[in-house]
């Protein structure tokens, strides 16, 4: 999937992946896509909730080995 910015949240635990995602989205323009790579299993549910609450669309969420990759489109 194409993306405009990548956030490396590997090794970070709750709530840091979400806090850093929020900050990274702030640096994007509306419609641009952020890729987030996390190793925190809890971030799967958290990212869904974050997308739902903030209105930034979660385009994709896929586990890759022990990592979780998310694509978020800024609203």
């Amino acid at each position: 999937m194409d993306f405009n910015k990548e956030l490396d949240a590997r090794g970070l635990n709750c709530p840091l992946p979400i806090l850093k995602t929020k900050k990274a989205l702030g640096e994007l323009a509306s419609g641009q896509v952020l890729k987030v790579v996390s190793t925190d299993a809890g971030s799967v549910k958290d990212m869904e909730a974050f997308a739902k609450q903030t209105g930034n669309e979660l385009l994709g969420s896929e586990p890759q080995g022990k990592e979780y990759v998310f694509f978020l489109k800024k609203k």
Partner: protein, 156 residues
């Protein structure tokens, strides 16, 4: 959708209990909530510029996981509190959990409002210059002014 609001009362000043208010507040702010934390009694110490005094004690905390079983009287020995605090901080770091300093900074950066309890400052003879800047000081009424219109209100 109107902006959701969260109010938290933080009453405890130990390392473990410093986490819930700062984690919930910073996360709620990331979820576009408007957030206020009212710091009272020992919770107010979490607003000190220097957080090195924020510690954890194994005493009276039977649920605290220990590397080796530790009798209560051993936990009461001098230096055990500092040791437990040091071990906990190492654990926090190795697991990629944020420090209290980082979470507090994230709260401030995302616009979480901190209210310091004026009565507690007087009660314990705290000095305002020991606390970080940007705190509003007030009492219970100040808290209710915001808390009365929130979606979530927590006492920690």
């Amino acid at each position: 959708m109107s902006q959701k609001k969260l109010a938290i009362i933080a009453t405890k000043g130990t390392l473990d209990m410093a986490y819930p208010p700062f984690i919930l507040a910073s996360t709620a702010a990331a979820l576009d909530y408007e957030v206020q934390i009212f710091f009272t009694f020992y919770g107010l110490t979490l607003l000190r510029k220097d957080l090195s005094g924020v510690k954890i004690s194994p005493l009276a905390n039977p649920a605290m996981p220990m590397p080796v079983p530790m009798p209560v009287l051993v936990s009461a020995l001098p230096g055990m509190e500092s040791m437990a605090t040091m071990m906990m901080k190492q654990k926090i770091k190795s697991k990629g959990v944020a420090s209290i300093e980082d979470l507090r900074a994230a709260c401030i950066e995302s616009g979480v409002k901190f209210i310091g309890c004026e009565m507690t400052v007087d009660l314990f003879d705290f000095k305002r210059e020991d606390f970080i800047d940007g705190i509003e000081y007030g009492g219970a009424s100040t808290f209710f002014e915001f808390a009365g219109n929130t979606d979530i209100c927590l006492f920690v």
